[in-house]
Symmetry: C2
């Protein structure tokens, strides 16, 4: 490609609404242009990257035996009503009416449509297993779209759906996709982790997120450097930090802690470790009648150590909290604890509450909690002696760096990540809701065992940039760079030898199948170099009149600190070797 | 590709709502599946064809110097309001509101968005010419979607937009696209014509439709077999069929024609040629005040020869009819002619009307028209003698087969066609409405000269099938067939020599870059052959145990009446030669 023919529009400054580096650099490099909040034009430079990402995904999905199709963007409400998601999905699902006032949704995902296809087309066990995928535009009407195309409203996603005869076969389909995803993210040239993730209401252990490692990532991912354990923070199991409960050594002791309502402040005031304090969190659950009116509420006290954080996903797995919970109101707290939040604890309750202790808290002794009296805490608290044993002991906290790995093979570390892929075992959730069956070998209809597998295509661009950039701009992995090599001739329009050498190199590299851009715009060298560094082309060759007189050109990899002089006679071979072609 | 891994779902019968052959065959071959009226899943078999069509278009667009981008499906109302099309576009444009109640449209086309990009990004004449294109989903909420994906609501279109400095440069861009379209349709393997088309309000002569020739086509296209003249029927110029007006030879003669209200019936009754009769069509135009209330209506009488049809597009170019017309009401007709429709004519009017005569009618003498009295006509009518010369003489009829070609090089023929592409010079219509300017060499802002260039990607599938099918199914051109070669082994699962030979041929053809499907489903031969004939794979190889024992296989092209025996040793070379690989 020649630059004059192409479309290059770099900006000196990113627009004010670009908060994170990938958004800023995508705007400055002219990869995308905003049309409306969360809705972007994919400009020619950005589209080249998208197509390369798409092609890697497509090749590996095909290699894994998946079959590509395309399901419509505008989908009739009826299918969404069959699974109940027409009502359950919030305003993220964009609903619309056609000219005949019929209801439709813009697809945020396609479980309903693909299950409808399966129940019509996959009639026999002989047609299974089958994995259908599409690379198709999605729309999710986010309340606050941000981060450019990392969390846009209109975006591109690869979504795949597997259909199997039974749970065992579905497990194989899952493993097959997991392996394909590893190949995809390896080929994309990104540093990532596949982490176990929560399966929510589906249950089972078959859910993995593919997280691109980046300091700016929104997700905390937990891994064990000594083993292959990796999970997202919602799922990662926190083992108790104490082997057993020590015997009490202190008497119960109410201490004044004026104005100190956090565990950290209290520990500092009392000159003790934060690990001796216990944090109180008050939740509530409601029972409702058929009309939806609340007939009874229950208040819960959840206890985690002062240096730990409550994990709401884990709390949601506690018996009694599974059907949903909320934080208690101040009125409910005062009613049960006789005190406003900040000085709460499990000792001396005004009305009984259900107590859930984290595994570690259940093994603590001589600990410090709120006294249920403003400006007072109690030290020397001990289970059994000062209060009953907890109603429930459970893992309800986030792991922290240094915790023992649940696989017993080392200690945990935490990184930040950006979720770009997800493999998920669905079971018969959708096939039962839509009565999607096939005839099994025994002649009986059975519900498909399903899995779903997503990759955020446009999101990968943002994640790749968050992971790979410097002060000058983007640093694309070779496999998804908009161009692999930029040829920068200085004085292309005036120095004949420069033009001849640049054209020859361009022709030779292009013939070798390398994706080259020849910058024939006639920009000054500084502006030209800045553009290609901002855009992030991984290999650059500079040809100048002066260099050519000495028979030399300059090569510089995007991560190289300095340029390398290369004899013009060796140039094409040198560049080919660098790009691994 | 192996058939078991792929997704093949053929049907014996097409669904009842499939009216035309392409729709029936696409459904039966499993290329598409209906999700909702005019909204289809592109099934794996159909998607392969779509991708091949896309790739040919993309390659030729890139070769022509156009640059690909993608513009969002969901576009803000504000841009459409700038050009006034938010109000002008009918219910075909699907409008929707996001969660914040802001107005958006699903793109039916993208002139507004691309012009917005140009005014922001193309600031200097040095950036011109530029041609931006996308291959992107479109949505048009047709009142009565039909013909499968030939006239669907959600469909795939390539739309390109050129930006130029001046009219001359825009003409070059137009010619460039015209040439690219010829290459595209040549490579698609379709028989087509590029025909001149009406430019509507834009004016000028720069509009061509690319029509795939098919008897079932909706459009009538006119061409001259003796020259390169071709136009759609709306535009094709009808020359007068008479060189000059002959002197009157008959007296005016009112004749009873009871119950004969058509020219054909009257000519038959009177034993004369239809070419001696004149047909009367009554139109009306309205003048309105600022409130839209009609302040004055004018009635027009349009006269074409009895064997000709009025061309409404041409009528709309007559001075006085340019701003829109309607057919007159019966009350208006009775008021002006003193008679109900069926026996109208230009002689003996009750109130004056504007008379527009077709060029041929203006040169007729001794002709027959209605007498403005039920059950009576008048013969021997002559201009000047019996009625004043017409107010306007113009080309207002459709050409008919055998008319002289407007280029003077022969006579016209008429074919049916399906419009699959359109190149159109837009001028400054959009750039002025949106004030999209660039700085020209003289330092002054100028409006872009624009062109737009569409190809209906999914429509091409339907058009190709309408043109290429037989009783057994589709006959794809090689370049867009879902698979180029089908290998049909008889007894793949039981005859080892068949399996070995089939696998070897599959490997060798695949290695040669040929798109092969190996039918390993174990279907009976009849069912297997019927499937591939229905799906329309252009080349088929049959391998059987019996044949192999004689060292032979069978090759059959999809259009061949019989199979050809080929020695197994020559088979791969033979097939490669047939597919031109």
């Amino acid at each position: 490609m020649r630059a004059r023919q192409f479309f290059i529009t770099t900006l000196k400054e990113a627009p004010a609404d670009a908060e994170i580096v990938s958004h800023k650099l995508m705007m400055r490099a002219g990869l995308i242009r905003k049309l409306s909040a969360g809705i972007y034009n994919y400009m020619p430079m950005g589209l080249r990257v998208i197509r390369k990402v798409e092609n890697i995904i497509r090749e590996e999905m095909n290699r894994a035996g998946a079959v590509e199709l395309v399901m419509p963007l505008v989908q009739p409400a009826e299918l969404w009503q069959e699974t109940g998601r027409w009502d359950k999905m919030g305003p993220e699902m964009l609903r619309l009416k056609d000219r005949h006032e019929r209801d439709f949704a813009m697809q945020p995902t396609s479980e309903e449509v693909v299950t409808d296809i399966a129940r019509q087309e996959l009639k026999s066990y002989r047609a299974l297993p089958k994995n259908l995928y599409q690379i198709q535009t999605k729309f999710r009407d986010e309340r606050r779209p941000r981060f450019g195309i990392m969390r846009g409203r209109e975006f591109l996603m690869k979504d795949a759906y597997s259909f199997d005869r039974d749970v065992e076969a579905a497990g194989k389909s899952y493993e097959n996709m997991y392996a394909a995803y590893r190949k995809i993210f390896d080929r994309l040239g990104l540093t990532y982790r596949a982490v176990a993730a929560d399966t929510g209401a589906i249950g089972g252990d078959r859910s993995h997120e593919f997280q691109v490692i980046a300091e700016t990532g929104e997700d905390a991912i937990v891994y064990c450097p000594q083993s292959d354990y990796a999970a997202n923070i919602e799922l990662a199991e926190a083992l108790p930090l104490l082997a057993e409960r020590a015997a009490p050594t202190q008497a119960l002791n109410k201490v004044p802690t004026p104005g100190k309502s956090t565990c950290a402040d209290v520990a500092a005031l009392l000159g003790t470790s934060l690990a001796n304090t216990v944090k109180s969190l008050v939740l509530a659950t409601d029972e409702v009648d058929e009309t939806g009116a609340i007939v009874k509420s229950t208040v819960w006290l959840l206890l985690v150590r002062g240096d730990h954080d409550l994990n709401e996903v884990k709390a949601g797995k506690v018996e009694g909290l599974k059907d949903g919970f909320r934080f208690a109101t101040e009125a409910e707290i005062v009613e049960h604890f006789g005190c406003k939040p900040g000085y709460l604890g499990p000792v001396g309750l005004k009305k009984p509450v259900k107590i859930v202790a984290d595994r570690t808290v259940a093994l603590m002794s001589d600990f410090i909690t709120g006294a249920n009296e403003v400006d007072f805490h109690i030290a020397g608290v001990n289970w059994s002696r000062d209060l009953p044993e907890p109603d429930v002991v459970a893992d309800i906290r986030n792991v922290v760096e240094g915790d023992a790995s649940p696989d017993g093979k080392g200690t945990l570390a935490i990184q930040r990540g950006i979720e770009v892929g997800h493999v998920f075992y669905l079971g018969t959730k959708y096939s039962k809701a839509m009565n999607a069956t096939f005839l099994d070998e025994d002649g009986k209809p059975k519900h498909f065992e399903m899995g779903c597998y997503g990759i955020g295509v446009t999101r990968i661009l943002g994640a790749a940039i968050e992971q790979n950039h410097d002060a000058r701009g983007i640093i694309w992995p070779d496999s998804i760079a908009p161009f692999t090599v930029a040829i920068c001739p200085i004085g292309y329009d005036r120095a004949e030898d420069v033009k001849v050498a640049a054209d020859a190199l361009y022709a030779e590299l292009t013939a070798a199948g390398i994706d080259v851009i020849l910058d024939d715009r006639g920009e000054r060298p500084g502006a030209m170099f800045a553009d290609w560094e901002l855009i992030g082309v991984p290999h650059r060759v500079v040809l100048s009149d002066r260099g050519l007189k000495e028979g030399q050109a300059e090569y510089q990899g995007r991560r190289d600190a300095e340029a390398t002089k290369v004899a013009v006679t060796e140039l094409a071979a040198f560049v080919k070797a660098r790009v691994g072609s």
